[in-house]
Symmetry: C2
Subunit: 374 residues, 2 copies
């Protein structure tokens, strides 16, 4: 690596309109297109570019090849006062997810606790986006998804579950909300790809090879894992039992049960994409209305006190700051609102090519600098 | 270590009656005494002796010094069709937990999703016990508790949360249920104590010292941590960010929010015991009725298929078996039902002393052997 990466910035609203216009050219309704664009741009704003507009090409290809359907037959399979199960009909992940989380919140307004599953869906972006829909309703929000299988159980050597992220958020008062948004594997595929690009070997505890032993070579493990020849990413807690890898393994399976088994959808190694068909994934959403348990204003004040305490934890030698979950992302978001959405050169090139292809004008670059996190 | 530890076995029913009789001598009602005894014995049967009858002396001392109250003023603070919050009045953890989980299940029978908090409580034993109450009702069960603060946030050097376990279970059909029951720290205090007894140093990633750096000496870290001089146990994922320790940190805080902040109870470093008063902990319970989402019989069959798949994961070189969460514990339980509850020599001595002190006859030892796991 030489020097810092180039960071370009674009206005958030314009970037959303740009992505939305492209999705509309591919047949999405204005509302679906906008929601999908908002979820992608939110990821870049929060500093999670792996789930941002850099994926636009993949979404576009998905729609072009009909691996993602622009006009899906969406159906409610089961519904009660506090539960809902929706078949997304192979459509885009974000619109159906935003919709089901909204329904879950409506239900929780009445019943204090509500949950929803979405099956037969596609990549939904950052889980935290949907969990955070609950915040302004004085609710705790929950969102999870299963993914194509990339994770290996403790003592195994073959992928049996996805990176299966879970998001959990709770509102505070003066502070940003607590927003945990984490994959249940120790790292995600993106991290392996970065190592591959940068010619670094993998840290111990991240992945196993075809024999189930410590994988060092990122290229080899990526190839073998995706071709299902064996090997894959380890659960949170790493290899074996010394660092309690069985806990991350258990959490990954928990997410798969809630997203997929609960609504009768494919799970575990059944979830995978091929050149002909996308991995049809499932999601799980939940909301708990705080006033079913205690006064929401006291809850928010206590959250402030908790988060304040965590921020002010005495520091380990050599460290500069203790963060609480989501705090860094909110700071990124504030900066992006003010200065524009940070994008890498590579991502900007993808956008420019798509803009040309679909006759949509790409937003102006508002700033260009080195050394900032994209 | 020389040789295998001695393992004695006692009949489960007799051991429950023995513990219950002692609790009754200390003022607990027959029903509360029996529930508390059942939870302790269940831990030993499932192979979790750290939470078993070896704790009887601590519970007895708690009751004698009135750190745990035998006749607490228990109050329902808030209740709705799908939520309940109970102040345990400083009583024993197991009876109020078993009661609130029962209420949560009753509510979920009607509303498909219900949750309860218990505040002002004491040690409740294994979280999995309460989560598993949901299984026979075709529900997913959830149980969590906060604990005295022992865990250090990523980049910190002072304890800010407990080992905060969470349990999640889902019923299968022919197979044992999936029962995840895990602390959200990488290890628990018990593991540090074992290293101390055996003169071993701590693995990297388990704990930090007063400066927030890798702690090797178990005795030093235990002393400093309990006296709040700094240092403590790391979250699942270990130190720093390389193995994603911030994920375990986030999960531990999530458990604290659900157990304590949600019902206005003490959280984080406010939770600790002194010689004069016990750490008043809080719990969280939940149940999701499967038929709010899909047909329970299909769910169970799909769980069988999932668990079967996990068990049959191709093995890493040198490994003998892949387990799913809870499987090993159910096998232990079956053996304990047949052969008796395994107890260490040390635990048996505690029981004998307490039996003598309270005039309760200790159960016969049904077998004695070496080399089995206690």
């Amino acid at each position: 690596m030489t020097g810092s990466p180039e960071v370009l910035r674009m206005n958030a609203g314009e970037l959303i309109r740009f992505c939305s216009a492209i999705f509309q050219k591919l047949g999405l309704s204005e509302s679906e297109a906008t929601t999908t664009a908002q979820v992608l741009v939110a990821a870049d704003m929060r500093g999670i570019p792996s789930h941002g507009v850099g994926r636009l090409r993949r979404y576009v290809n998905g729609l072009k090849t009909q691996q993602m359907l622009s006009n899906p037959k969406q159906r409610v399979l089961r519904e009660s006062a506090s539960t809902i199960v929706v078949d997304a009909g192979g459509g885009m992940g974000p619109p159906v997810s935003e919709f089901v989380m909204r329904k879950v919140i409506e239900k929780a307004e009445k019943t204090h606790a509500a949950f929803g599953c979405v099956r037969n869906s596609n990549h939904f972006g950052i889980a935290g986006y949907y969990a955070m829909q609950a915040l302004e309703h004085d609710m705790i929000g929950i969102a999870m998804t299963n993914t194509a299988a990339l994770g290996v159980p403790t003592f195994g050597r073959q992928v049996m579950f996805g990176t299966n992220p879970l998001a959990f958020c709770a509102p505070a008062d003066k502070h940003h909300a607590f927003v945990l948004d984490m994959s249940t594997t120790v790292v995600t595929r993106g991290k392996l790809e970065v190592c591959d690009r940068e010619g670094r070997s993998l840290s111990a505890g991240w992945a196993v090879d075809k024999d189930g032993l410590h994988a060092q070579d990122p290229k080899g493990i990526l190839d073998d894992m995706l071709a299902r020849r064996g090997g894959g990413i380890l659960p949170l807690g790493g290899a074996g039992t010394e660092q309690s890898g069985f806990k991350g393994y258990g959490l990954a399976v928990m997410v798969d049960i809630l997203c997929a088994v609960l609504c009768g959808a494919p799970f575990g190694p059944e979830v995978y994409g091929t050149p002909e068909s996308s991995a049809r994934v499932s999601h799980f959403f939940g909301a708990l209305k705080i006033d079913g348990f205690s006064d929401p204003q006291s809850f928010r004040s206590n959250m402030d006190r908790m988060l304040e305490g965590l921020r002010n934890t005495p520091l380990a030698k050599g460290q500069e700051r203790v963060w609480f979950a989501g705090e860094q992302e909110f700071e990124n978001q504030k900066k992006a609102e003010k200065d524009g959405v940070p994008l890498s050169l590579n991502t900007t090139a993808i956008l420019a090519a798509l803009g040309k292809e679909y006759g949509v004008e790409i937003p102006n670059i508002t700033s260009q600098s080195k050394g900032e996190r994209p």
